[in-house]
């Protein structure tokens, strides 16, 4: 079945440094949709980014990600981390016509001063 792998459980960064959270996936379908959800403490998880077409960058709130089908990846990046970026980040996969989502284990990003 489909799967999503987030290799880092915890990423600790100093404010101002670049952010990169890894996400790779496995699916037999040729046109997957990939998502990044962010979960701030005491809030509901919410959508941060949704993939576009292959090799096209998608951006929102300073974060960006590019779907690379050749490497089955959708890594989340930001040029400069802020303290307010501290949260739990989930990568998720869905396929056309399939209402199910598969989430990765999540990466906790901790930004320190």
């Amino acid at each position: 079945g489909d799967s999503v792998t987030q290799t880092e459980g915890l990423v600790t960064l100093t404010e101002g440094l670049p952010v990169m959270l890894n996400c790779t996936y496995q699916t037999i379908y040729s046109n997957p949709f990939l998502f990044w959800y962010v979960h701030y403490l005491n809030e509901s998880p919410r959508l941060l980014l949704k993939s576009s077409t292959d090799n096209k960058r998608t951006e929102h709130q300073g974060f960006h990600a590019t779907l690379h089908k050749s490497s089955s990846s959708f890594h989340l990046q930001k040029s400069s981390a802020q303290l307010s970026d501290s949260a739990l980040y989930y990568c998720a996969l869905s396929n056309t016509g399939n209402y199910k989502y598969v989430f990765g284990a999540g990466t906790r990003l901790k930004v320190i001063a």
Partner: protein, 111 residues
């Protein structure tokens, strides 16, 4: 403003007791979900509902059942709760374009 609500927000039960978690949405979304969130495991899909009385098992349905009699309400039921069902439970509803809206979560402790 799209909204998903969950009740209760916190619940403590003893092993063997029945548990009812409620979820509501005011967006007339057809598809709704129940997940549980555990450290290191992420969000795991328990059940998915495509519409009223049209439910399907997710990846970890054992020990759970659901009910959806109205489009705006989706309930998760634990018959005879177990200690390993201690978790945070999230309900979500899906909008066209694949985005999910999540509720605030219910923290369930089974003693």
């Amino acid at each position: 403003d799209m909204k998903v609500t969950q009740m209760p927000r916190y619940l403590i039960k003893r092993m063997g007791e029945n548990v009812l978690l409620e979820c509501g949405q005011d967006m007339s979304h057809e598809t709704m979900y129940w997940y549980r969130q555990d450290p290191g495991l992420g969000l795991q899909l328990i059940y998915i509902s495509y519409d009223v009385d049209s439910n399907s098992e997710g990846d970890i349905p054992k020990g759970y059942r659901v009910s959806r009699k109205k489009r705006e309400h989706f309930s998760l039921i634990l018959d005879s709760a177990k200690t390993n069902q201690t978790s945070v439970y999230f309900c979500a509803s899906r909008v066209r374009g694949y985005e999910q809206y999540f509720g605030p979560g219910t923290r369930l402790t089974v003693l």
